[in-house]
Symmetry: D2
Subunit: 347 residues, 4 copies
């Protein structure tokens, strides 16, 4: 069986595994107050080009999203996001469980625009009964988005500017950030993101780590007492050094970028094959997620030896499915997948 | 100035005022454990044709909605409603503040259908990642809806059946229930509603009372420990007899129905005039809310002597506004309004 | 039956009733944006000697406490109070339901001291694992306390100073504030309280109104967006003018103070009798609550014609009970109670 | 430096590390739906002697406590625990953040009794205003407790019986469960605990794992939809097999028990030395936590080469500190510590 259904099917990159093995019996302070976390923080600050950033390590994405959003908002405030936003769709109401409404903006490509944000906020403020409506205060975006699309530098500049103008926080979910930064056509850097967002996170779980997300906070208003809120939501890992060791490794010798580039290249190879066989993409993309529209008959055959995830029905005979590559994807497996696709398409 | 902007501009019906004055210096138990509340409960049970119903009195609608929904749901469960649902749009995230997501179903007339509910729930259950998604458990409808439309008996029977089949709670927000029950074309009775819903409430604030909503619970699972939850959310009125006295009066000699019928008749009169001048309704209706589409120029003139509330822009030159009648609306004021509309339309 | 079990057994003072009757059919804006609320706000600001105070009207005490505390705190912060504090003991976890822990300080007289607050906060800050502990941020006191005791001006000055020094909010629950201000030996004024607290409320429910508490906010950080939070917790009364009319009346011609003084005088009369028959007080006091220690045998007889509330068992043969007077207490009823006590004590 | 300040200073047991290394590049399903988790569940069920138990894996203790308690309670219900309970003292209000009050019972040894629970619940139910008070519904105990003490089989039987009689849930926090089960004098088995508690968890973080707690649910009412609630609180690990692999290893060849026994033996050695030098224990105990009362002067010297954690001041000259052993503690380090203690005591 070839697994292309997600980007968290394996353990971790060999360098991380080596580091965990090597340090296993060392004794360190708990709760991310150890020297590995300190080193990882320094490397992330350097990658972001700002030595004043607060950096915290959490275990998973939903935990990170709910912690950041809960830390940022007063009770009557909500988080705006695309209708496909992970916090809206796939986190079992984790944000609502902290008391905050998720306010959706329509989107077909997973992205939202500065103009949409501005219109929504101005409409709220102009409403005669605004106190009866949740106050939009934070903009949640993911990059890459849930559909594998990317914000351009200009788009992020615009979002950042409108957030600053309107007194909103801009929060970028980077669960797959590496795959975005290394994608063909991407013009954003880690430093751009750190400069333009109030807070964002660098995903480790899907990019080489066993688990772990590094939250980077530029806005001091969001940084205050953040560790209390991590703890309150059960996100304070006792052996925090496990997170430090992993991010320290990922940010040594550009490992994070190199393994991300590999995944994107593997996905590009698959996209080339899909183009060759005339299978359209549901959404164009250049990252590690490939949303392909294929005939049910072909997919039925393919499913016998390849796993993929279901996205949506497109017509009576075709549906969109998702193939994920990752840091761990082997080139020969992609080649096998491509060959199978060509064979099945030729039938 | 003529007020048609809402249905809570005055105090209360004279009979209620008389009762409050008459009983003012009586000493009673607090927290709705007095004899007036007991009497009101009995009358409401009788009006509902079921002497086993639990009846509780709360002060306002948002408080009632959040209390009922919080009492009904486990943490991971959400409330489904129309995209125009009051709990979704105009309660400052009160439901989310109790930790629960509001799950919207598309609607243009303020109503949702049994089929929509069934499809949403079955789609949830069929989703491969359902545990990552809020579980739909309660159906919130309002009758009349926020757009003044009404459920037919058949529609409510269908909703009730699908809820029972799928293990959902059906909750009807009756903030304007009287205006619905007495509207032309309505075929639902109070007893039907009490039979078909797991829980509903009878609105007092907008129908003759100073304030107050009577929650009627048929499903014993929702009734258990309900008073604790009222208290926890700050909804337990110390001088609860004020609620008892008001509902006792409203349910004596059919006062609740009579004053509702008056408001509907006043709105019908306005609808006749709008038809006469060729002004379409945004949504057809027969209750006390009239959503009229009128030219901006006419509305500008009208606003000098009449208050109404803004609903939405319909075209570059026309917008929809809402006129509300109520138990307190004077016929001569409606006539003045109608005359003005005709004059302005004739210009 | 003579009711001395609480101070909310009747409706409202005749002047308030008259005002409600007189204004009943007036049409006003909703949600406390009417002219009566505006007038009441002005009078309260004047009574507090500060024309910059924010004043909001809510319906009841638990609602007020949870709304103020939720508005004030970030997620990881808690409210300190005496172990007998109403928010800790008698509000069904309303504060916890907003996500915040109540942090108790030991107290036998219902009061806490500046020194206790300072020690608790400094201990928190000195704790090596402080991020694992709820951060104390708000001090909740009630005046009069749940035991009828009063803070002196010096004590409140000290609490205020320590709160300011440590960056805490000071919140005074004045559910029975009038009875405190008019009590023998009290040296605090309304203006003192408004000056020394960040936020407090003036109780109406127990002091002449049908219902209603006036929240007075001095600290602008607490005032921001307060109406959103009222609405979110279901505390925004549609016919808000009912609150405005009541507080406007209470703060006209010193009505609030006069009726409070009456209640205290009635309680003093009862305290004199208790002294006369040698019945000790559980806690010394001068407000409208009288906590008397009496023999079970006497209480059993008394209960046949008088209601009182149970406080605590003191010995095998004696227990403490509470008698409440109020603005509505009739002198002849107190005299009857006193005569009965003397008779029963003489047996 | 010798670390005795906690039991989570190292990584994981070598067998677990080996298993993680060996399986690292395998591809598995996510979210604990893999075969390693399935195998671990089976072994835990077997260890508990009940093949119907639901078993779930979470990352850390606070996360586990908040998830279990939130899953168990309705909004108005609270969790009872000893005043020293971890959920009350050291979880930054995690339980309150889910909306529930923690109700403390006085305790000096970290334990609570069936009699205390019964009295508290009966007092609640007998209170005339019980709806104004949080309803006790769940009993939280830890075993070993935060003070290293243990429940006897009889005590747990009694607690279980009273919980069943009163309709309460009994929840045992087993963060250090292994150290309890293998301690001298303990008469409880894993199967006893599984039989007597509605839900408990087996701690991995402090007993050989990198991280991880295995929740074991006997009561079906608590098991329903539990995975939704894990996800909602951010506790659903993407690479869930990491938890499965660890617990599978811990429950193979009695590893969990063997490494626990080692830690207890190391602590016993320390306790022997303390007895020898006449240093009393703050609380008697036989598990891996040693609470010793020692002179400040001695501790000052000792702190130069040994880490320990501060517990409390006992007198002007003495204080209690905690030494922790663990699965990873080396015998030679304990011997060094003991030698130092003797030397310093002899000065």
């Amino acid at each position: 069986m070839l697994y292309f259904n997600n980007d968290y099917a394996e353990g971790c990159h060999q360098s991380i595994l080596d580091a965990l093995v090597k340090t296993n019996m060392e004794q360190t302070l708990g709760y991310s107050e150890d020297s590995y976390c300190a080193a990882a923080r320094e490397k992330i600050r350097k990658a972001c080009g700002n030595d004043k950033l607060a950096v915290h390590f959490l275990v998973g994405g939903t935990q990170t999203n709910l912690t950041v959003i809960d830390a940022a908002l007063r009770p009557h405030q909500g988080a705006m996001c695309a209708s496909s936003g992970h916090i809206h769709v796939h986190e079992t109401g984790a944000v609502e469980a902290t008391g905050h409404k998720v306010l959706t903006l329509p989107s077909t490509d997973g992205k939202i625009t500065a103009r949409q944000v501005e219109q929504a906020v101005l409409a709220h403020r102009a409403d005669g009964a605004f106190e009866h409506i949740v106050q939009p205060k934070l903009v949640y975006i993911s990059n890459p988005t849930e559909l594998g699309t990317l914000y351009t530098k200009q788009e992020l500049e615009d979002l950042s500017a409108v957030c600053q103008k309107l007194g909103l926080y801009l929060f970028l979910d980077g669960a797959r950030l590496g795959y975005g930064l290394m994608a063909k056509g991407n013009d954003l850097t880690m430093a751009d993101i750190a400069r333009l967002c109030d807070v964002f996170y660098i995903g480790g779980t899907k990019v080489g780590a066993l688990f772990g997300e590094a939250v980077v906070i530029r806005n001091p208003a969001l940084a205050e007492d953040f560790r209390y809120i991590i703890k309150q939501h059960g996100g304070m890992l006792a052996k925090g050094r496990l997170l430090g060791i992993q991010f320290d490794t990922l940010f040594t010798d550009d490992l994070y970028y190199k393994i991300s580039a590999h995944a994107d290249a593997m996905a590009d190879r698959l996209r080339d094959t899909l183009a060759e066989i005339g299978a359209p993409l549901l959404v164009p993309g250049t990252t590690n997620q490939v949303f392909a529209i294929l005939p049910d008959t072909l997919l039925e055959e393919l499913a016998k030896t390849v796993t993929f995830s279901e996205q949506e029905r497109v017509s009576d005979t075709h549906r969109a499915v998702r193939f994920c590559t990752s840091w761990a994807t082997k080139a020969e497996n992609v080649d096998t997948l491509c060959r199978k696709l060509k064979e099945l398409a030729a039938k």
